[in-house]
Symmetry: C2
Subunit: 114 residues, 2 copies
């Protein structure tokens, strides 16, 4: 029997929650962009085509609540705010790399959007 | 600079589509259950707590349209119908294993659902 990723398999609440977290529109792109050094709000918005400021702001708050990133405020003039991945957020890298490889290998598009 | 999973990074349409595919409620659980040998409708429904017949039916059709699984009809009495992962579907295993490991390591729950 193949390995299971969790003791109770895909039906574990944490597994289901993780798939939904990653699947939420823009979330993976934002995590990946921060991972690649786009740490500021404007920089993120600039680098993720199609992502509105409102949606970016919402997702950043969600990811902060999930302890995937942290928001650091530096008392400079003007104030500098940077988003950094936590250890938990950095650990998503393996998942995103695997998913990216799969997507490019299979040139995956959602059928209805082709 | 770290590896990127696709030439254009997280903003590649196939990457975004893949994250949304995996994140759609129940999709990962269904793929994983089929991978573990639950190949028939009733068996899938029985093994994924909380998944309704209507939702299971909808997801199976979507996954068939995405070429992630195929539906095989065997002309027996009564007719036997089995779902099998395609090569593309089987290739998702790496992603699901990585995600499952992450979920269990961080005991991930969506915050609002804790």
């Amino acid at each position: 029997m193949p390995d299971q990723p969790t003791p109770t398999g895909p039906f574990d609440p944490s597994f289901l929650a993780a798939t939904e977290l990653i699947g939420k529109r823009w979330t993976a792109a934002i995590v990946w962009a921060i991972y690649h050094g786009h740490n500021r709000f404007g920089d993120l918005q600039h680098n993720i085509p199609g992502l509105s400021a409102r949606m970016l702001s919402e997702r950043l708050k969600e990811l902060e609540a999930e302890d995937i990133l942290e928001r650091n405020v530096y008392a400079e003039t003007p104030v500098r705010i940077e988003y950094q991945l936590t250890e938990k957020g950095l650990a998503l890298r393996t998942v995103l790399v695997a998913l990216g490889k799969w997507a490019i290998k299979w040139d995956h598009r959602i059928e209805s959007g082709k």
